[in-house]
C-alpha cells in the first residue's frame, strides 16, 4: 500500500442556520483554516497550497495574503460544480503533496448563503438558454428535482420503499443528537415525524432534504515526514478518486446508466487503489443532499447490490457507533450542518483519530463519499497510520 500524504489538522468555524452567521464568508474561511492549522501545530506561514470545490469567492490569492502565507505553490479546484467535488478536492491536495508540488496544503469550503444567496433557489429569468430549456421549461428546476427524478426510478427498479429514505434521515438525526456542534442537536426526529412532514418534491419529504447553512471547514494535508513532530497523530489518505462511468458524462437524464449517482467508477477505483473492500470499512460518511441518492451511491460504491440496499439500511443498521455500518456519525448535511459536505471530511478524519462524538471503536478505515446525483462523483478513504 502506497501512503502518499497525511491529514494533520482539522478545523471549522461555528456553524449557523442559513443567513445568521455574524462573520462574512471570507472571515469564516479564515477562521476554519486557522483552527485547522492550529490543530496541526503548524504555523500559518508554512501553508503553501489551497484547494476547494465550487469555490468562487474565497480565492487562494486573497487567502494567501490574509493568512500570511510565505509562498504559494499550489492552487486548484476540481471540475464539476457541487458537493460531488468535495472529496475530489482532497484528491488534488493529496496529488500535490505526494507529487512534491507543495508541502502543506489546506483543503476547505466556506459558505455564507445569507451573504451570497442559496443553491436550492431557482435562479432563472423569464427566458431560458441552452440545456435548461429541456428541463426548466417543464418546471424541473432545483437539485432536489433532479435527485427526485433519479430516486423515483431507482426505487421503482429495485422495489425500494419510502422507509429506506426515512432510514437515511433517521440515522443522521440520531447521530446529530450526540454532537454538540450539530445544528439539529436537541431536535430528534421520529419515523412518524418524518412521514408526517410535508412533501418538498415527491418522493422527498422535508426531512429528506438537507438544509442550507453558513460556516466553513478545513483540513491540512502534508507529507508523512513533516507530520512526524506535529501535535496530532497523522491520518493517511489511503485512496482518493474522482470520475465517471462510460456514457454518464452528459446530463438531462440521458446518462447510459440512469438512474445513477455517478459512483460506479469512483467505487471501482477506491477499492482498486486501496486494496480493501467495502466490507472492510469501519465507518462511512455519505454526502446526503437528499436521502434517495445516498441509496444509489451506497450500492454503486459496492456496499450492497441495489436490490438489497433497503435491507442493508433498515432496522437501525446505520445508527450510532455500533451500527452495522456506522454512517454520517456527526449528523452529516442533514443533522450537523450543510457546509457543502466538508463537515463529512472532518468527521471521517476525526473517526480515525478517535475524536468523534459518535466514536466507532478501533477505526482502521474511514470513508467519505461526496455528493451523489451530479457528476463526476468523488470519494476519499482515510486509514490508521
Amino acid at each position: 500500500m502506497q501512503r502518499r500524504s497525511v491529514v494533520v489538522g482539522v478545523g471549522e468555524s461555528s456553524y449557523y442556520k442559513r443567513g445568521t452567521a455574524q462573520e462574512t464568508e471570507f472571515q469564516l474561511a479564515c477562521i476554519a483554516i486557522r483552527n485547522a492549522v492550529e490543530d496541526a501545530g503548524l504555523d500559518l506561514s508554512e501553508i503553501d497550497g489551497f484547494v476547494s470545490h465550487m469555490e468562487s469567492r474565497n480565492d487562494p490569492m486573497r487567502l494567501s495574503r490574509a493568512l500570511g502565507v510565505e509562498t504559494l505553490d499550489f492552487a486548484a479546484q476540481p471540475w464539476g460544480g457541487g458537493g460531488n467535488g468535495v472529496a475530489a478536492g482532497i484528491m488534488l491536495a493529496d496529488a500535490a503533496v505526494s507529487g512534491g508540488l507543495a508541502k502543506c496544503v489546506v483543503a476547505f469550503r466556506a459558505l455564507a448563503q445569507g451573504q451570497f444567496g442559496r443553491f436550492g433557489q431557482a435562479r432563472m429569468a423569464n427566458r431560458l438558454y441552452g440545456a435548461a430549456n429541456y428541463s426548466a421549461l417543464y418546471g424541473l428546476l432545483s437539485p432536489a428535482h433532479i435527485c427526485a427524478m433519479q430516486t423515483r426510478r431507482f426505487m421503482h427498479d429495485h422495489h425500494i420503499s419510502q422507509e429506506a429514505l426515512a432510514d437515511i434521515a433517521l440515522a443522521c438525526y440520531a447521530n446529530a443528537q450526540l454532537n454538540p456542534r450539530a445544528l439539529r442537536c436537541g431536535k430528534p426526529l421520529s419515523r412518524e415525524q418524518y412521514h408526517a412532514s410535508r412533501w418538498i418534491v415527491e418522493p422527498f419529504h422535508l426531512f429528506d432534504c438537507c438544509p442550507e447553512n453558513d460556516g466553513a471547514a478545513a483540513i491540512v494535508i502534508t507529507t508523512p515526514e513533516r507530520a512526524k513532530d506535529l501535535r496530532k497523530k497523522p491520518v493517511p489518505i489511503l485512496a482518493a478518486a474522482q470520475g465517471l462511468d462510460a456514457g454518464d458524462g452528459f446530463g438531462a437524464f440521458n446518462e447510459r446508466n440512469f438512474p445513477t449517482a455517478f459512483y460506479r467508477n469512483v467505487g471501482k477505483r477506491i477499492w482498486e487503489r486501496s486494496g480493501v473492500r467495502p466490507a472492510d470499512v469501519d465507518v462511512a460518511q455519505f454526502y446526503e443532499n437528499f436521502t434517495g441518492p445516498v441509496l444509489i451511491a451506497m450500492s454503486e460504491m459496492g456496499f450492497a447490490p441495489p436490490d438489497g440496499i433497503e435491507e442493508f439500511v433498515s432496522n437501525g443498521a446505520l445508527e450510532g457507533p455500533d451500527a452495522r455500518l456506522p454512517f454520517n456519525t456527526s449528523g452529516g448535511n442533514l443533522g450537523e450542518a450543510y457546509i457543502h459536505g466538508f463537515e463529512l471530511i472532518n468527521e471521517a478524519v476525526r473517526q480515525v483519530r478517535g475524536e468523534s462524538t459518535c466514536q466507532v471503536e478501533n477505526v482502521e478505515l474511514s470513508l467519505a463519499v461526496a455528493g451523489p446525483g451530479f457528476s463526476p462523483g468523488s470519494a476519499v478513504l482515510f486509514c490508521r497510520d
Partner: protein, 144 residues
C-alpha cells in the same frame, strides 16, 4: 392555448441547435449525419463517432413514462399558485435510448405512474418578444 405551468412561465431562447425541438410541431431529435445516432439534448459533437454535422429524425411521438416527480414546494415565485405539478421523464418508443422531460397535461399529478403510455401534444405559443412561433412538446395519457 394556455400552458401547463401558466402563461407567465419562462420561454426558451431558440438558437439553431435548440429551435428544432421547440418549433417543429413534432418530437424532432438531433441525429448524426455520419453515423445516424440520435442524441438528446443536442450537442456540438456526436457522442458515438465525434461527427460534427447533424440532421434530425422525427419521432412518431409515442412514449412511456420512465420516471416522474411531483413538485409541491415552489422554488420559483411564478409557480406558487401552480403547485403541485408533475414533471415526467419520457422514453420514446421509436428511439428508446432517448429520454425527454415534459408534463402530462391531461392527468392529475397523483395519477402519473411509471410505465404509463403517453402521446406527444404541443403547446402552440407565439412569442411576441422574439416573433417565434413555438410548439412546446408536452404529453397526454394513452389508455392501453
Amino acid at each position: 392555448m394556455s400552458r401547463y405551468l401558466g402563461d407567465a412561465w419562462a420561454l426558451p431562447y431558440l438558437d439553431p441547435q435548440i429551435r428544432p425541438f421547440f418549433s417543429s410541431g413534432v418530437i424532432r431529435i438531433q441525429v448524426c449525419r455520419s453515423c445516424d445516432a440520435p442524441q438528446h439534448p443536442p450537442d456540438d459533437v456526436c457522442h458515438a463517432c465525434q461527427g460534427t454535422e447533424f440532421s434530425h429524425r422525427d419521432s412518431a411521438g409515442l412514449g412511456t413514462v420512465h420516471s416522474f416527480i411531483i413538485v409541491h414546494h415552489p422554488v420559483h415565485p411564478a409557480l406558487t399558485e401552480r403547485v403541485p405539478y408533475a414533471v415526467a421523464l419520457i422514453t420514446l418508443d421509436d428511439m428508446p435510448q432517448i429520454r425527454v422531460c415534459g408534463n402530462i397535461v391531461d392527468a392529475a399529478p397523483e395519477a402519473v405512474s411509471i410505465g404509463q403510455p403517453v402521446r406527444a401534444t404541443f403547446e402552440e405559443i407565439h412569442d411576441a418578444e422574439t416573433g417565434e412561433d413555438l410548439t412546446i412538446p408536452q404529453w397526454e395519457t394513452l389508455t392501453g
